[in-house]
């Protein structure tokens, strides 16, 4: 029983409550750094790492944090942890730090971390909070990898740094600039909305067939 509950907590972060497409969190870094697949993946993994430990710590201290000052305390926890991660990386894995470089400090302004701390970790058990962080992180990373891949292919003519097309291919520079990111996320959200509306329509029609609803309006 507990197992099923935990799995649901994980899977919701992938689609139903995807931080970017359903909760609209973390849009700024998502759009800003996804200029290539590797960049999207790097940011996704780094953010997932911080989100995981942030949820763990917030959930662990939820008994002693007074509600009135919970936001500044969460921010202190998150910013401290991101800085610790930065220092450890710079000291022990300098090559990785140079590769991820700018993504690590960018995580402090990622709304997903504070969002999940406030909405979930502060009100749920340590186990559930851990799983929630993992699900949200994976969902976040999937969207970032997709954004990064499309923008890199169309805007740079490459994938994972390798040129895909010949020298005659003129990349759509717009895709790598902010407007391209906005357009792409708009298309993604529009597609998801369309899928959900179709789903609701199908459910509505099914209910009508079985005479469970008599109204005409699929609200």
């Amino acid at each position: 029983m507990e197992d099923k509950g935990l799995f649901k907590e994980f899977i919701k972060g992938i689609y139903k409550e995807n931080p970017i497409t359903a909760l609209f969190l973390g849009l700024c870094p998502a759009l800003a750094v996804t200029t290539s697949l590797i960049n999207g993946l790097g940011m996704g993994l780094a953010a997932t790492f911080v989100l995981l430990f942030s949820n763990i710590i917030v959930s662990s201290v939820k008994g002693i944090v007074p509600r009135k000052i919970r936001i500044p305390i969460y921010i202190v926890i998150i910013a401290t942890f991101v800085t610790i991660v930065e220092l450890i990386m710079a000291g022990f894995i300098p090559s990785l730090f140079r590769a991820l470089g700018i993504y690590v400090p960018l995580i402090v302004v990622n709304c997903i971390i504070l969002g999940r701390a406030e909405a979930f970790a502060s009100k749920n058990s340590l186990g559930k909070s851990t799983i929630d962080a993992l699900g949200m992180g994976v969902g976040f990373t999937i969207v970032l990898v997709f954004l990064g891949a499309v923008r890199e292919i169309l805007g740079d003519g490459k994938l994972l740094g390798h040129y895909l097309f010949g020298p005659e291919f003129e990349p759509v520079l717009l895709m790598i600039l902010p407007p391209g990111a906005f357009i792409l996320i708009g298309l993604i959200l529009g597609t998801i909305n369309w899928i959900e509306i179709r789903k609701n329509q199908k459910i509505f029609l099914k209910f009508k067939e079985k005479k469970l609803i008599t109204t005409e309006n699929p609200e």
């Binding site: 800085t83 220092l87 790598i176």
Partner: protein
């Protein structure tokens, strides 16, 4: 009143715990980070002054550092090249560039030591094209005189990165400024005369 005191105390405890953790981690990592910086500088010096057998360090009156490269072990001879680190405020970071200048005042090579510019745009300054060995943006600085080191938009010879004018400008201007600063302390054998 009692409420505020209690809240302040708890917030203070969390901040103190955070401060201690940060201080602790900093203490552990500081020496390793310093070591890495020294290593990066040493490698950059060897890269921008390839002909130098010995490189020494000099400090100016206002605590700024520049390096002298000698062709032989004999440091009493005139140095064949000089080097310094140029700092320029880019789009989202203070870019550090190691600049190697020969004794005629032209650039031998540059190497960007640190930047945190926008990935895919300004960060291209340190990207190498497939099949090449150095980033094209940095390669073009070799052989240029200080006067030519401005981005094309500002009338110079440096080709900027598409969509990253601020980054390109920051690098070029910091290098130009640096060479002019260096010429106050070091003598270049001028090849270009004013009449040219």
């Amino acid at each position: 009143m009692k409420d505020i005191i209690k809240l302040s105390l708890i917030l203070g405890i969390f901040c103190t715990a955070a401060a201690f953790s940060l201080a602790g981690v900093n203490k552990i990592t500081r020496p390793r980070i310093e070591m890495e910086r020294k290593r990066v500088i040493k490698e950059a010096l060897e890269h921008v002054l390839p002909a130098a057998k010995i490189i020494t360090e000099n400090k100016t009156i206002d605590e700024k550092t520049y390096y002298l490269g000698y062709a032989t072990e004999d440091t009493t001879q005139s140095p064949k090249g000089f080097s310094f680190i140029a700092y320029g405020q880019g789009y989202s970071s203070r870019i550090q560039t190691m600049v190697g200048v020969n004794n005629k005042g032209t650039i031998e090579a540059i190497e960007i030591l640190f930047q945190q510019e926008t990935p895919g745009l300004g960060a291209k300054a340190t990207e190498t094209r497939p099949g090449e060995d150095t980033p094209w943006f940095q390669k073009q600085f070799a052989g240029k005189f200080a006067d030519d080191i401005k981005v094309d938009k500002d009338g110079g010879e440096i080709v900027s990165i598409t969509g990253a004018t601020i980054t390109s400008r920051a690098v070029a201007n910091s290098i130009q400024k640096g060479i002019k600063w260096l010429s106050d302390y070091v003598k270049f054998e001028k090849e270009k005369t004013i009449t040219e």
